[in-house]
Symmetry: C2
Subunit: 158 residues, 2 copies
DNA sequence: CGTATCCCGGATATCTATTATCCGCGATGT
DNA sequence: ACATCGCGGATAATAGATATCCGGGATACG
């Protein structure tokens, strides 16, 4: 079980966009260069974030990406689900209904206890991620980093 | 992000072993047949559970598997970590230290906020799984299933 | 003591998902 | 009109999960 690295990329990029002036979109290659990421592949994840309504993409010259809403209203879960999907990591294959010990379908109207437990843990995981916003992530940056990022983004935009 | 199906297999098998008489081990092919699983591949997961100290394997004729301790003392997390490992699903690649926006290593003595949030969510997931035992899973079986499993296991053992 | 049974560990093959890149298309601002 | 930039599809390469097989060692039974 491993999370896509796109989750890390997406969280860093949305955090960085939260530090940019709202009126000026950031180009994709600037985002990629800022973190040393492959530009073409990062595009896939940014597109996913755009489709999910987390980012807003502006085509054309002086185009780029900006947040679709304020950082206080974007949760970490929003970013994670945009990239990883919202389906539970545990996929129940109903093996209780297979083999010599197969339980009759009548007794399977309720999900089995194993599935319930795994789904409940998945919900706890998502609840935890829903409790943190992108604004919180920016607040927890080491001192000086925000200012430096603002300068770098301004230089790239000019 | 997907959990190995071995987790489902392991949880069902440990639950089934909890329903067997403690003095008689259950052969691997009986476990596989009970749920319609490939015997050879199930062996890999049962070996992992044995190495983790969840199951106890007895070689030789009349050998097989039994629980290494009482079902009340085996948590769902024990089984999950035996098969999936105990490392967090999120692997931080420290991209904050790469690219044009690289943060100096001096400022990276603390883990970044993104990693902290993901690790905290992972802890919440594990805490949830730690709160349920194999005995709880058996208690939540539909009425009649326990008795039928006991009969099947007795027939297979005789 | 010999033999049959059963688990262990390594080697191997297949399949799927992730990672990564490229190119044509459409949209936008100058 | 033209250059810039994001969108989406097609395509490889790589890693991990899935599945199988076989030799070796341990144990029970005759």
């Amino acid at each position: 079980m491993k999370l896509s690295q796109g989750v890390e990329w997406g969280l860093h990029c949305t955090s960085l966009l939260a530090q940019a002036p709202a009126d000026r979109p950031i180009r994709r290659d600037v985002l990629a260069g800022h973190y040393g990421l492959p530009d073409a592949y990062l595009a896939k994840h940014l597109q996913a974030l755009t489709r999910a309504g987390v980012l807003h993409a502006l085509p054309g010259p002086r185009g780029g990406y900006r947040l679709a809403r304020s950082p206080e209203r974007i949760t970490v879960l929003d970013v994670v689900e945009a990239i990883e999907g919202s389906t539970s990591a545990f996929v129940c294959q109903e093996i209780r209904q297979r083999g010599t010990g197969a339980v009759s379908p009548d007794q399977c109207s309720n999900p089995c206890a194993i599935r319930s437990v795994m789904d409940q843990a998945d919900a706890a995981w998502r609840d935890s991620l829903r409790g943190v916003t992108v604004a919180d992530l920016v607040d927890r940056l080491p001192p000086g980093v925000r200012e430096r990022n603002a300068d770098l983004l301004a230089a790239a935009g000019g």
